[in-house]
Symmetry: C2
């Protein structure tokens, strides 16, 4: 509703992230009641759910799903509300991935707030409960993630099922692929980290599945399928998605090492300490001299790496030219993605939005 005191009534039109958050809040209310019917003791699970989902996230996957839809359909077309609700389901899937990821990586914070397993761990300590708080925290977060994963499908399926059957089927096929590909990408990432190789091809394959397909390509194709997009549009969005997804992840990798922690919300150098096998470190290793290789081998994956150690590795990433190569590759991919949209048959406002998203993916600072 417009606020009569609002000098700029147009500002009260909800943004897409606000629409997604409204859907998520409504779903949360419904599910809080379902859990309360089972037992009042499940209130803590509902609270953890709220913290994991309504966390000011960028809502990237719903955004791409929405613009995939808008490539075909004008604003406010029939079915848009259902598509937005289905897209909110993607955020529950993503919340599962983050909650489980934080357990797997042992990351204590998420967007500057305590991770789910840390919340449960603290609750355990505050109540002076029996057993080990850390195990309790991990178990609570595993169960919370499982619930988010099941519920993401329920929210998605109920909403998408309101669209014509053939379009719903196409969108669901993309949703199913997303769920498999994100797990596959994470597993490959974990393997790469354990093997400790510095292999650019392996790094690119992890990006393809863990980010490009999961974050950009599949959500776009999902939205386009829900809208009844043509095979030609699918081909364009498929290419655009892989290119922008790669640019997005490469920027993320740079921010993880060179970014401002007050903007990124995660401690500088954590990606290095965790031993992430990014393209950045793989390219540095390729170009490194023996002394630099030794620094990379010893430093990447050392959980006790100091601030000085991080600074030293940053220097290697600069001196080998890896930082510059990755910067160039980001711009190249963003440019290729923009050119892929040229001449494609899609709604002009959607083309404009996709161009802006390409710019944002390439140049963001947080």
């Amino acid at each position: 509703m417009a606020d009569p005191a609002d000098p700029n009534p147009v500002s009260s039109t909800p943004t897409l992230p606000e629409r997604i958050d409204t859907e998520l809040a409504a779903f949360l209310t419904e599910r809080t009641a379902q859990l309360a019917d089972i037992s009042p003791d499940l209130g803590v699970l509902s609270q953890a759910f709220r913290a994991a989902v309504l966390n000011g996230g960028k809502r990237l996957r719903p955004t791409f799903a929405y613009w995939g839809w808008r490539c075909v359909r004008p604003a406010g077309a029939p079915g848009e509300a259902e598509l937005v609700r289905a897209a909110a389901g993607l955020e529950l899937l993503h919340a599962c991935a983050l909650v489980h990821d934080d357990v797997m990586d042992g990351s204590d914070t998420r967007r500057g707030q305590p991770a789910a397993h840390i919340r449960f761990d603290r609750m355990h300590r505050e109540q002076a409960w029996l057993g080990n708080g850390q195990s309790f925290g991990a178990a609570g977060a595993i169960l919370l993630g499982d619930l988010l994963l099941s519920w993401s499908e329920e929210l998605f399926t109920a909403a998408i099922g309101c669209l014509p059957a053939d379009r719903a089927r196409g969108a669901t096929a993309e949703f199913d692929r997303m769920r498999t590909e994100v797990v596959a990408g994470q597993f490959l990432d974990m393997l790469a980290q354990a093997r400790g190789a510095f292999d650019p091809d392996e790094a690119l394959r992890v990006i393809e599945f863990k980010t490009s397909k999961y974050t950009v390509q599949r959500p776009l194709l999902l939205g386009a399928a829900a809208a009844g997009g043509t095979p030609e549009l699918t081909a364009v969005l498929s290419d655009y998605g892989l290119l922008i997804g790669e640019a997005f992840q490469l920027r993320d990798d740079l921010l993880g090492v060179f970014g401002d922690p007050s903007r990124t919300g995660k401690p500088a150098g954590d990606d290095l300490r965790e031993g992430k096998r990014t393209l950045l470190v793989a390219l540095a290793f390729q170009a490194a001299d023996p002394a630099q290789r030794e620094l990379l081998r010893a430093g990447v994956g050392d959980p006790a790496l100091t601030g000085a150690g991080v600074a030293e590795l940053r220097q290697v990433l600069e001196q080998t030219g890896a930082h510059e190569l990755v910067e160039q590759r980001i711009l190249e991919r963003a440019g290729q993605a923009a050119r892929r949209l040229e001449g494609a048959s899609l709604q002009p406002v959607a083309a404009q939005a996709l161009l802006e998203l390409a710019q944002a993916a390439a140049h963001r600072t947080s």
Copy 2:
């Protein structure tokens, strides 16, 4: 196919668990190919999937789903093959629950075989990979469980979608409830264990959600809904399911303390060491004298509990009459379940099977 040398050709008709295993093996083959297309490195994930799913499990949930269906439809009726395939999806859901449960409980074995997280941990050690094998094992098992959870829904939905829409919808609603209730039940179990109370009502609530609904009631209702069962049948199966589920879990609790490890496949006393808040220990605590209460407080949940300590607790469970009370309650519930079937309008062969399942739940030794 009948073996001409088989003196008893009828024995080559596949049993229901065999039919379920055939569906699971076919699904596994299809998904192994999907993972291989992503990367040959995912072969280890497919192997872990195989070990978690094709493990000689009892296939209880599909069995109840099948007999829920057979309450309404004769053997071989149209749609039966699809129902059996959908029921196989319940085993993937259950495999997820077990894989994640073993991580949460730190259980090293499952049916006498290494748990999924132990398999990944060993792989890590054998390959002398970087980082911590235990963390790698837990992360691999969390991802495997996530995949099983998504895939259970895909197998279920594709199969159930072949039935008429209203029946498919009813069955899907039960499937959705199962997924929420099993997580809720596990979370309540974890809370009860952490709080350390010996509360019979709390123990019964955990049984209701973690076992009765998840293992018996919902699968039965799912099968009946898929077959287009009447509200009267739903009411009968709903009651029968809660009663038999309780009998099944109480027998499980007794086997966990008094069972023969060579038959149950889990070390004697592990439930006591883990500190499970079963009805058995709650009833013992109620009837215990101060010395016995002290033994229960100190011993239940002590991971270092010795064989002698287990024997001492067993004695308390006997002397307080708790063992006997739980035995009686099992027989009572099985009897009530059998009586609930009397006079109900369902296929006689299904009534007979449900009576036998009631007996098996109450009297099994493994």
